[in-house]
């Protein structure tokens, strides 16, 4: 298990242990840098702070990002998502598939969106989403809904 020194203290961290902690977290708003865990984007400092218990003021984003990359997580910068351009042009829909692709990781979850492809938060219940918006003083100007897992959930088709 790799050992890292953060704020002068040693920590033994591994990929699965960090991922396990992140599973129970709601991602804070991403400002610039993020890491992807379980299909969700987290600020690197949020993850490292939760895993180690160290205050976010005691280490830098770059340090957190470097550690998480070494553990095998994808790290990127908001607004530099190359994947958006790779969506096939003929895809149906007003956003040529980009919106569907942005929602893909959140099937079955409640999401709050600030724009057509910007998911602010995803959670298991609407109450968690509302609490997150309130806590972070954010507005889901595009709307809030549950990403359907099936056509039946999307439109209320009667089951056979």
């Amino acid at each position: 298990m790799p050992r890292f020194t953060i704020a002068g203290r040693p920590f033994d961290l591994d990929h699965s242990g960090v991922e396990r902690v992140a599973r129970d977290l709601l991602p804070d708003p991403v400002r610039e840098h993020y890491v992807v865990m379980g299909g969700r984007r987290f600020p690197p400092k949020q993850v490292i702070s939760c895993v180690t218990g160290i205050d976010r003021a005691d280490f830098t984003t770059h340090q957190a990002r470097r550690i998480l990359k070494r553990l095998g997580f994808v790290a990127a910068r908001a607004g530099h998502d190359q994947g958006d351009e790779d969506v096939a042009a003929p895809a149906r829909g007003p956003h040529r598939g980009r919106q569907a692709a942005a929602l893909e990781p959140y099937v079955g979850k409640w999401v709050a969106m600030s724009g057509p492809t910007e998911v602010l938060v995803a959670a298991d219940s609407p109450g968690e989403v509302l609490a997150w918006l309130s806590r972070h003083e954010r507005r889901a100007s595009f709307g809030m809904f549950r990403v359907p897992a099936s056509v039946e959930e999307a439109e209320g088709v009667a089951p056979l």
Binding site: R92, P94, A100, F145
Partner: protein, 134 residues
């Protein structure tokens, strides 16, 4: 006001739905995406919204209805909705359980207040408040 259809993840081909954001009461931070359903006689929302916005359903009349093959208890109340810049008081049936992804905007409580133009070929809909008639 023009809204794009919503793209949803789907296996075979992109699913798109005519939805509009609806502010319920003073829940400004989280407008609810609602599906326009010309076949629904009433607005039908998940009951959690009433709880989240402080609408008291304690004394609300209730009925058992079937929506999309699901039996649900509908409690009938009135709620302030804001759609396309218009705030108005509408009848809403708050349903529990509500296993669907979207709330439904139906005839009473939505369509009679707005003029809708849909263009499925280009994935948009226009929603304009109906001009008041005497």
């Amino acid at each position: 006001m023009r809204f794009d259809f919503l793209e949803l993840p789907g296996e075979a081909e992109r699913l798109v739905r005519p939805v509009v954001p609806v502010q319920v009461e003073d829940l400004e931070d989280a407008p609810q995406l609602c599906l326009i359903d010309t076949g629904s006689t009433a607005n039908r929302f998940g009951a959690w919204i009433a709880e989240a916005t402080g609408i008291d359903l304690g004394a609300a009349p209730e009925s058992l209805v079937m929506v999309g093959g699901v039996h649900t208890t509908a409690r009938h109340a009135r709620a302030e909705l804001t759609i396309a810049g218009l705030r108005y008081e509408a009848p809403v049936s708050f349903c529990d359980p509500w296993p669907f992804a979207f709330n439904l905007l139906g005839q009473e409580g939505f369509l009679r207040f707005f003029r809708i133009e849909l263009c499925a070929a280009e994935f948009w809909l226009d929603v304009r408040p109906e001009v008041a008639r005497d």
